[in-house]
Symmetry: C2
Subunit: 306 residues, 2 copies
Amino acid sequence: MSLRLTILGCHSATPRKNAFPTAQYLEINNCHFLIDCGEGTQRQMRKYKVGFSKINYIFISHLHGDHFFGLVGLLSTFGILNREKEIHIYGPKGIKEVVELSLKIAQSYSKFPIIFHELSSKKSELIFEDDKVEVYTIPLKHRVYTNGFLFREKTKLRKINITATQHYPEIEKCDYQKIKEGNDYLLSNGEVVSNSKLTFDPPKPLSYAYCSDTSYLPKLKELISGVDVLYHESTFLKDKEELAHKTGHSTAAQAAQLAKDSNVHQLVLGHYSSRYQNIELFKEEAQEYFENAHLAEPGKIFEISA
Amino acid sequence: MSLRLTILGCHSATPRKNAFPTAQYLEINNCHFLIDCGEGTQRQMRKYKVGFSKINYIFISHLHGDHFFGLVGLLSTFGILNREKEIHIYGPKGIKEVVELSLKIAQSYSKFPIIFHELSSKKSELIFEDDKVEVYTIPLKHRVYTNGFLFREKTKLRKINITATQHYPEIEKCDYQKIKEGNDYLLSNGEVVSNSKLTFDPPKPLSYAYCSDTSYLPKLKELISGVDVLYHESTFLKDKEELAHKTGHSTAAQAAQLAKDSNVHQLVLGHYSSRYQNIELFKEEAQEYFENAHLAEPGKIFEISA
């Protein structure tokens, strides 16, 4: 089980020479997700060698340009590359209309189906599930309807302790599945071998919480408690806390306070305002509250193995 | 009088690590125009120091993504930068609906008026005129409705030959305007001083023709005859002439043949297909037909003074 997060863009507002609007590529338990898609994301994907064909699910937090103006271009490129596989897009209500009109007007007719999952709930909901991963929305507080996303590996089966099973010759390979599922084993002499004797714990399921854009919301700790990696926007430093509140953003200090209160393992900061030349200040400020705080930077990879 | 063309992007199809879709910034007779606006154009503008506030007129050749997917992002950024001045957008019918919907959905409400000039004529027409420059459409032949654009400086007033006027003390400064306009001067003794004695020719009006995307159209020479700079797409080399024809594009050889037949001063090639690693081949091929052929490259500037 593993979690690998590649930052494609992590700056707020407008693309600039050395500033790339938000986009992230998440690989978790062999599932591949694109999170947000600011203008230029497809170029960043090529630069950091993110395979276009691996992307089957795109999650858009909100419809401000710095989080989705690269989406139509990316879909258009999928068409040029002769993609046939369907793609799923999760995002606020309205995303379907604008994407479909843009592709129609550009005559980017595609062979691949685009399946929209428009979101409008203000409560956290399960929006994606397969046998390996679940994705929940994290309702955020911004100037427009916005969701973060919580990605959780599903608990895997327990691991067979081969040495232990060898003490019981009547346990055969065809019994393994039930044992992996946590069942005890009933021997023919009526003795019960407890599952804990026959198996090891499965690897810990990993989790990633993406929270951008949002005001500081202390109550988020209920949803993101104990996640392995928390990305939380830090558009401003704490001297601009009032401006952060007014514009629906957070400070590095607030992101770090939430990381601490939520008992997460690692915090990644990003969505820096263009007013700051030196982003190291965000890390310094956050580390006053939460030591394991890091800076998102284009091309940077955060990786965890369980 | 001067003409200065800055190439912002000159590659076809999709943005890649070192490939930027079409956009150009034209300064002609102190007017400033943006021509096409592929994804990432605003970043290229910042990189090559094109002042956002100078852009009041944007010309979009056609609605394929590599020529307009950067437009909504650029307009959105104008809003973030608190632009108040109106902007004029010239492009195919349909552009208004998609831009307005995209800005609405992104809640990029702007204070500045956006004035759309939707084009649908298949004949060349004058679409812009002020006291310094005229812009005509150049109907092209592509897979969708497409126009090139012809930018022409207006003829300026003749220049007063101060030394010559000093031979006629009764000519005063208040007479200069009429002389500049080409009138002869009637002396009080009844003698007529011909205008050619009193003035120099004005600088030659410069002109620029932008032709992308298009099949080879020999008849274009009637519209672009004698222009100072011709940008003509060369998506392919001549070994792919059939493919060029089929996809509504041209080869470098065809662009050069047209440059020669149109008696232009300088040819700029671009819109290179991603299949070619070495773009020097386009120049070499073109120069077999037309010596003064050059390659468009991001950041490259073509400048002419009259």
